[in-house]
Symmetry: C2
DNA sequence: TTCATATTTCCATAACTATGGAAACATGAA
DNA sequence: TTCATGTTTCCATAGTTATGGAAATATGAA
């Protein structure tokens, strides 16, 4: 991920309601959440939520799919991982301090299919 | 890290010049960089840079130390790692999608002193 | 003390962002 | 077609953020 993209992603997440929406979508997982559900969960007015979703979409953090009248939103884990990759490289890559990368408990101990 | 803090950190990094400053400090490592050096490297006016540094400091991403007439700034890796931890948990923790966490090359393969 | 250098604070201005009402658009049901 | 529902677009307003000049502060050197 280029720093330009990372900026867009950081920006998308650097707002209370958008971070909240993203977390809700992460919790919802594959099932996703309809825009209306998100509106209910966050208490945001429709137009406001649409604006925030637009910013998350442009950043590639959220994708959506129309299902009849509702639009189902999902968190885009790939993009989130790309962002984490960027931040990790830009936190650790050029540093000589060996302790720099250590303490992050990076991911829940899920089985990895290496 | 609480989501309130994460927001402050995200916000600190979600700006072109601040991300740039932070990356420069990461590259500089332990040696750090003086405010004046940062001004030279970024081309920002003093007052502008001070404002950005203030935001990075408040977020705990940058610490500084006076050395005579210059003020030496350093990236705070601990805070960066805490932010990465927050994001990772909020990307992966509650998800049932096993592929979610996989592709992140989290840290450069440094020797770890487990 | 006086001076030069480094940085910050103060302040005004310009630019951007968040908010939400009202109208428009999209879809499916009757 | 008509209607109800879900979502977006349009637009104005209020609030926040970025920028940098000028003055102030801090430090060390002469």
């Amino acid at each position: 991920m280029k720093s330009e993209n990372a900026l867009t992603c950081l920006n998308a997440l650097a707002q209370e309601h958008r971070l909240n929406v993203f977390r809700l979508l992460v919790q919802a997982g594959e099932a996703g959440m309809a825009v209306g559900e998100l509106a209910g969960a966050t208490g945001l007015a429709g137009a406001t939520l649409t604006n925030h979703l637009h910013i998350l979409r442009r950043a590639g953090m959220v994708s959506d799919e129309r299902r009849g009248r509702v639009i189902l939103c999902r968190a885009n884990y790939k993009q989130m991982n790309a962002l984490l990759g960027f931040l990790t490289e830009n936190c650790c890559a050029s540093s000589e301090d060996p302790s720099c990368c250590e303490p992050v408990a990076v991911c829940k101990p899920t089985r990895r299919k290496v």
